[in-house]
């Protein structure tokens, strides 16, 4: 089974966001960068599927700055076979531009499955996976939390408001995966050593023109300072009164 996993380098979720001097981007000084958490589920799923099939290849592909090589190495340390970096100075705000670059790379790859995390925890775009599927005219299921594959057919479950949607699809397909699909492994020392020797190809990303222009990145409005209503259960009536009369939410 030949599987591609598209991954992204993102700022860690514990990052305190500081705006850079350009007023449009994250100040990266002192920020720890990680493999996007949802992409870990995608890498893990690919490794398990390849093992189950008994043969195949897991290729990780990232689109981003040169430092994304580290992120690719993390996925290689988990067990992926080789990496491809589609190098760009930064990741554009327009998900379709990223999708075009990825689709161009994936097009003639002969993949049975193309996996993505359901979204990146930095830009929250949540769109590149299904866009790649459209560009390649492949079936796509997003936010997969449970997956069964039997021959050329797959069944997935995805969370929707108030329940789980059951979806059937043929392979090859593009899937974006949700937390809960599996438990991603930690790279072992042996894996980390092996990853250094695995092939990592770097080529320029074919992004095309972007249709979104970033005007500004700003901190969210400060919440006005709240107050402690009181201590213990005795404060409950006062809280309720405030919610009804001041906040008017009840």
């Amino acid at each position: 089974m030949k599987i591609a996993v598209c991954i992204k380098r993102v700022a860690d979720s514990e990052t305190r966001v500081k705006i850079a001097a350009d007023g449009k981007s994250l100040d990266e000084a002192g920020v720890k960068f990680i493999l996007n958490p949802y992409d870990e589920f995608a890498v893990e799923e690919a490794l398990q599927r390849k093992d189950k099939a008994g043969s195949g290849e897991v290729v990780v592909i990232a689109c981003g700055p040169p430092s994304s090589q580290e992120t690719i190495r993390t996925a290689l340390a988990m067990g992926a076979d080789r990496g491809v970096l589609l190098e760009a100075p930064g990741v554009p705000a327009d998900g379709l531009a990223v999708a075009r670059a990825l689709a161009a790379e994936l097009k003639d790859g002969g993949y049975d499955l193309i996996l993505f995390g359901k979204m990146a925890i930095d830009d929250y775009n949540q769109q590149v996976g299904p866009m790649v599927a459209e560009l390649l005219d492949l079936p796509c299921v997003t936010c997969v939390a449970h997956l069964t594959i039997d021959g050329g057919k797959g069944t997935a479950e995805r969370e929707v408001e108030g329940g789980m949607e059951e979806v059937e699809f043929p392979l090859p397909a593009v899937l974006t995966v949700d937390k809960g699909l599996n438990e991603p492994r930690y790279p072992a020392l042996k894996g980390i050593m092996a990853a250094k020797k695995k092939p990592l190809e770097v080529k320029p990303a074919a992004l095309g023109t972007a249709g979104l222009e970033i005007l500004a990145l700003t901190p969210p409005p400060e919440r006005k300072e709240g107050r402690i209503v009181g201590e213990g259960a005795a404060a409950v009536p006062a809280l309720l009164q405030l919610l009804r009369e001041e906040a008017k939410v009840l």
Binding site: P220, V236, L250
Partner: protein
């Protein structure tokens, strides 16, 4: 002058409420662009409640039918929306950033070769271009983005665009969509236990963290949520989800859901930065925690310091009295 296509959402033949928000957002853009709002709903037949779109500002309500649209059909629906969008003079296509909208919007955008501004919390028009605000880094920052291509495909974060009544003609039109529903087939939806509301859509969220001490104690929060009479959902911090106490779908925070309810009650949640990111856009935040120095009190409008096991049952009682009064 350009029109705005508002893509509505239905389940089991009934319009979902989030569609009212979509029409409201679309109306705002249409007013700025000097055009009309055309609401499009896809179904196997007539969709009950679709006529409400007129009340919120749709000049036209188009029902596009296909036998395969009884359930959401990702490929067939994307094709139908894109074809409609190509056929009119649309400057923007507006969808909900719901579970379905998050799946559908990127497909539509890719078919149109248009950019998608996803999960926006504010929108407008500046010099003829659509300009949106979208939270990034789970709400730790706001990105202001100009859409430089046309049409602009925009998805709206649920619960943010309060429906505003702006009665328009809402002229009904029905059209049949040819072709099949596509390769990806939704077999059905398995309802969550108790038909629970989703945390991302509920007007009230009662969320619990490690302070609950053990999974069984979430019963206290479920009772509080029930006391609000079907308007509240139970959420959870990452710590308790990772510990397996609550399902992943309940997680609020940067690696879970970002929510904007009218009221967010954080119980036994200290307020890690990645959690605060997920709920700071709630209109009103209440925190109940035994540690008066917990970071959650920094973002809470109202706090009670003390033992949640004593406070929550009292709160549940008081809410029950209020809602049954």
């Amino acid at each position: 002058m350009s029109h705005v296509l508002a893509v509505l959402e239905q389940r089991d033949g009934s319009l979902r409420k989030v569609s009212h928000e979509v029409v409201t957002g679309a109306r705002r853009l249409a007013d700025a662009l000097g055009g009309e709002v055309h609401a499009l709903v896809l179904g196997a037949g007539a969709v009950s409640g679709a006529d409400a779109a007129g009340r919120y500002g749709a000049d036209k309500v188009i029902t596009a039918t296909n036998a395969g649209f009884a359930q959401y059909a990702p490929e067939g629906c994307a094709r139908a929306v894109a074809e409609r969008a190509k056929g009119g003079a649309y400057g923007a296509v507006v969808l909900a950033a719901s579970a379905q909208g998050k799946d559908l919007a990127p497909r539509v955008a890719a078919k149109l070769g248009a950019p998608l501004a996803a999960d926006v919390t504010d929108l407008g028009v500046d010099g003829g271009s659509v300009v949106v605000i979208r939270p990034v880094f789970a709400g730790k920052a706001l990105l202001k983005v100009k859409v430089t291509a046309s049409p602009a495909v925009v998805s709206l974060r649920p619960n943010v665009f309060t429906p505003v009544e702006r009665p328009k003609a809402g002229t009904a039109e029905t059209t049949a969509v040819a072709g099949d529903a596509g390769r990806v087939v939704v077999k059905g939806i398995k309802a969550a236990a108790g038909g629970a509301l989703d945390v991302a859509e509920a007007p009230i969220v009662v969320a619990g963290g490690r302070g609950l001490k053990e999974p069984a104690n979430f019963k206290l929060l479920e009772e509080l949520a029930q006391a609000f009479g079907g308007k509240a959902a139970v959420g959870a911090s990452r710590a308790v989800v990772d510990a397996g106490w609550r399902p992943h779908g309940d997680q609020v925070g940067q690696t879970g859901k970002t929510v904007s309810p009218s009221l967010y009650i954080a119980v036994g949640i200290s307020g890690a930065i990645q959690h605060l990111a997920g709920m700071r856009t709630a209109k009103v935040i209440v925190a109940i925690n035994k540690d008066k120095d917990a970071p959650i009190f920094k973002v809470a409008d109202y706090g009670i310091v003390g033992d949640l096991f004593e406070i929550v049952p009292q709160l549940t009682e008081a809410v029950r009295r209020l809602t049954s009064a």
